[in-house]
């Protein structure tokens, strides 16, 4: 593995007072009786950076984008007040299944992460982890004015103001809170973007990885996880 690919060793080891006990560097005795040093965050996790995936053949890419746009699988992760409008979206009246929208229980199966409202710092950490665990290509939809500029929580000490500083956002749906119709319009907009080949959030995240990480680490003091979560 080359030097630039290894992200964790580039960081200077500095004192982290919130580091959990199980993540501290420790000495382990092997089965052969030899002692060796283990740094759990480096040794137990894959430390490969996310890669930019360049579009392949133009025609194939167009077909793939059509396929991606017609089956948006949404992760059932309600991060804020907006999550109360997601169950009505799947009920007979609004029926998001018509648009190929479906809820999935795990990040590994889903392609859309809905940030449904303000993000407290504690949730942001989970949202980042969830986003990184999702398979590429992946899209982020942000609901509510609190994800755009802080909304009515602009002066709160525990909610972030702009989501696009921490995660690449494809579609914003404004409102406090957005109605289900607005959400459906947001899905249609997202489909247009995917079909036009503009929804390259995962590649953008890989390109500007260091900038995103610096922003994230600035506010998440209790990091306690590897830099990139596969």
């Amino acid at each position: 593995m080359s030097e630039e690919q290894n992200i964790n060793q580039n960081n200077e080891p500095k004192e982290d007072k919130f580091l959990a006990e199980e993540n501290k560097i420790r000495l382990v005795t092997g089965p052969d009786g030899k002692q060796f040093q283990v740094n759990p965050l480096d040794d137990y996790f894959c430390d490969k950076r996310p890669q930019v995936v360049a579009p392949k053949n133009k025609i194939i890419e167009k077909f793939l984008n059509w396929a991606r746009a017609e089956s948006l699988w949404v992760l059932g992760f309600g991060t804020g007040c907006g999550s109360i409008e997601i169950p009505p979206l799947l009920s007979p009246r609004f029926d998001a299944f018509r648009y190929g929208v479906q809820m999935r229980p795990t990040p590994r199966q889903s392609s859309v992460l809905i940030i449904s409202g303000y993000l407290a710092v504690k949730t942001l950490k989970r949202a980042i982890r969830t986003y990184e665990q999702m398979q590429s290509p992946k899209y982020v939809m942000a609901l509510g004015s609190c994800t755009i500029n802080g909304g009515m929580y602009y002066d709160s000490y525990n909610t972030i103001n702009r989501v696009d500083q921490y995660l690449p956002v494809d579609v914003y749906v404004a409102g406090c809170m957005p109605r289900p119709e607005a959400l459906l319009a947001g899905f249609v907009k997202l489909k247009e973007r995917i079909k036009a080949g503009n929804a390259e959030g995962a590649n953008e995240y890989a390109e500007k990885f260091d900038w995103y990480k610096a922003n994230q680490k600035k506010i998440i003091k209790n990091w306690n996880m590897p830099d990139y979560n596969w």
Binding site: K122, I148, Y154, D155, N161, R162
Partner: protein, 177 residues
């Protein structure tokens, strides 16, 4: 209600008695006698339902006010018990042995105001915040707007109307002041 208060005045030296409404009253008690007063209210007077415990920051007087609100389901009356403690070194006796739910309130107060309750279960674990290294946020001298502007990234061009100015212009255009 009056009878109870008269009894309390002689036993526990309560002061500042305020009858808020016919079924609700507030009293102030010294820090040392607070827990025995609460125990007395629960066991003898039948105030078995614990409503809430919270703190108020009186930064001008250098005091924290702790408020315990107790409720008697049979008599249908409420009693608010105020305890004033020093702001510099805030500690208070724990009441978790009376009601198990009180431990949760005390954990929150420890985190949000920095008031210590020695002996309360899991009081030192973080409850709401994660990785907080500033002064406890609910104290009056913590400026949340300044913290938010320094820490997060405010979006450029976010306009905000001062609601007071705006409403004055819209609703009361002919008003002075």
């Amino acid at each position: 209600m009056d009878k109870i208060i008269k009894d309390l005045t002689s036993r526990f030296k309560v002061t500042d008695y305020i009858q808020q409404r016919p079924n609700m009253a507030y009293v102030t008690v010294q820090k040392e006698l607070a827990i025995s007063l609460i125990t007395h209210m629960r066991d003898i007077e039948g105030f078995t339902h614990f409503v809430l415990l919270t703190a108020v920051d009186w930064i001008e007087d250098n005091l924290f006010q702790l408020t315990y609100i107790l409720n008697s389901p049979d008599k249908k009356v409420d009693l608010g018990i105020r305890v004033m403690i020093d702001r510099e070194n805030p500690t208070m006796d724990s009441a978790h042995h009376l009601w198990q739910q009180v431990a949760t309130y005390q954990r929150e107060l420890k985190e949000m105001f920095g008031i210590d309750f020695p002996g309360s279960p899991r009081v030192d674990e973080s409850f709401i915040l994660e990785g907080w290294d500033d002064i406890p946020p609910y104290r009056r001298d913590f400026d949340t707007l300044k913290y938010a502007e320094e820490t997060y990234f405010p979006r450029d061009g976010r306009g905000s109307n001062d609601p007071a100015e705006y409403m004055k212009k819209k609703l009361y255009p002919d008003e002075e002041k």
